[in-house]
Amino acid sequence: MQSLAIKGGALPSAHGKDPVSPSVGIGFKPVHYDAILKTKTGIDWLEVHPENYMSPGGPFMAHLEIMAERYPISLHAVGLSPGSPDPVDAVHLERLKALVDRFQPALVSDHLAWSRESDVFLPDLLPVPYTKEALNAVCDNVSHIQDVLGRQILIENPSSYLRPQGEEIDEVAFLIALAEQTGCGILFDVNNLYVSSENTGLDMAAYLAALSPEIIGEIHLAGHKRETSSGGDILIDDHGSKVRQAVWDLYSRAIERLGPVPTLIEWDTDIPELEVLVSEAAKARAIIEQSILERGNEHAA
């Protein structure tokens, strides 16, 4: 197993370089550009989808440059399609590499999902069947991405609505094997685990128990919505509201187990004022701080 370039706490934090102090970020939205320039946000870093910043030039690129002068940047890709049986699209990977070279991001990530089938891109994170064949394909793709970018990437657990018939490995074991075989880290999306658990019956406690702190590079938190139908409730991972209390509870348990992992608030639909995202991030920071305090007390005792 390769060594991990990034561990929890590698991102800078507003409280100094202490590796166990909390580090919280928010997804950067162009609509918040002016507000971020004018505000002392208390945020430690910003995350963007690199696919939104692949234009030759223009104001969006210029604004990201300005953000990158003020905040460390995390590039959270949605288009590498590591779950495809085919190699990663070479043109897209080169465009990502150009961004990585230009912005020197603190983190680079994508998802345990696929979005390309043959020559068509479907802009969603579609489910990978957890089989040995798929594990080999994802390992090949992640290794290739890391080789081309010259750095470690993180892979995020997806939100699931349907699970393919005949899977051979459970999700968390799939992710751990991927990390062991490629040296990638895991981006643990706590909301996705909650959504997948409600929708497909994943065992959250077992999942959390299987994860070890060394392979987790980042945590994501977001809102989801609940749709009630005659067949029962479906949770939809729409990133369109505050983090639900049940997800905060799961997050507290995750931080207790995994330590002060850098944590990001995502919000992609019905985007509110910047201060709403900032206050969600502050809530995450408070949970990490509380956990550090409790750990300290345990040590003292």
Partner: protein, 259 residues
């Protein structure tokens, strides 16, 4: 179990509601029924693409209404699936599509308006370049003027339409009542579209100016471009405007480059 490739190929067919798609038997029983689960993936794919098209073509969307736009966009998406994960690259075939879209024939200028919106979008995302200022032309010797060539800013686009698009454009951008303008009287539009710092500018051109810049952007020398635009008008104002707007990034002299 299918191979990974077979699974994804059939999943794609199911998402796109095409024959040969995965069915209920291909998924493990869970809390989400197959049809509801597949509908979420399908909705995610189409909603993201419809939104991307709506962001690129906001005036078309306003002119035809959200519901009709989504209906047209679905038709377009099924025939033009994305070939790249970069959504800013998606939708450049939409103007031709909407122009030929049967249910939209009562508004004949939709195709041209979509071309204008696409030009706006492309100008927004075009490469950055350092531009020459107004003084640059004064440094060219009078004897060399007719044989110089201009390099234009990568954002520059020219557009000609048989409809007066600019009124609708301006009304939209001032949050005006564009619906009132939907029945515009026919009237031509000749426009130069480019990015000036972070804004998109449109300059209306008269026919001579339009032919002149068309020739210059095709790489013709100034003297030839002037001839092709009729040759009996004064190009001073448009030349000053080209430099004033920052449309020119370089002047190529026959023996080398300026600047």
């Amino acid at each position: 179990m299918n191979t990974l490739r077979e699974f994804q190929n059939a999943f794609r067919s199911a998402v796109l509601s095409q024959p040969g798609g995965l069915g209920e038997a291909d998924f493990a029983p869970g809390n989400v029924p197959f049809s509801a689960g597949m509908a979420i993936y399908r909705n995610n794919v189409f909603a993201k693409l419809i939104d991307a098209l709506g962001d690129l073509y906001p005036i078309i969307k306003r002119l035809v209404g959200d519901e009709f736009f989504a209906y047209a966009a679905r038709d377009f998406i099924s025939a033009h699936l994305p070939r790249s994960p970069v959504l800013a690259d998606y939708g450049d075939e939409f103007p031709a599509f909407i122009e030929g879209f049967g249910p939209a024939q009562s508004t004949p200028y939709l195709g041209d308006m979509a071309c204008l919106e696409l030009a706006h979008h492309q100008a927004t995302h075009a490469a950055d370049a350092t531009v020459l200022d107004t003084g640059a032309l004064k440094d060219v010797a009078a004897s060399a003027l007719s044989s110089i060539r201009f390099q234009f800013h990568p954002s520059c686009r020219l557009l000609h339409s048989d409809y007066s698009l600019k009124e609708i454009w301006q009304a939209h951008n001032k949050d005006g009542d564009i619906e009132q303008l939907a029945d515009i009287a026919p009237g031509e539009a000749r426009l130069l579209i480019l990015r000036v710092e972070e804004r998109i500018e449109m300059r209306e051109l008269d026919p001579m100016e339009f032919d002149f810049i068309t020739a210059l952007m095709a790489g013709k020398i100034l003297g030839v471009a002037f001839e092709e635009s009729g040759g009996d008008w004064n190009p001073q104002e448009i030349l000053a405007d080209l430099f004033g707007l920052g449309a020119v990034t370089n002047i190529n002299l026959s023996g080398g480059n300026y600047g």
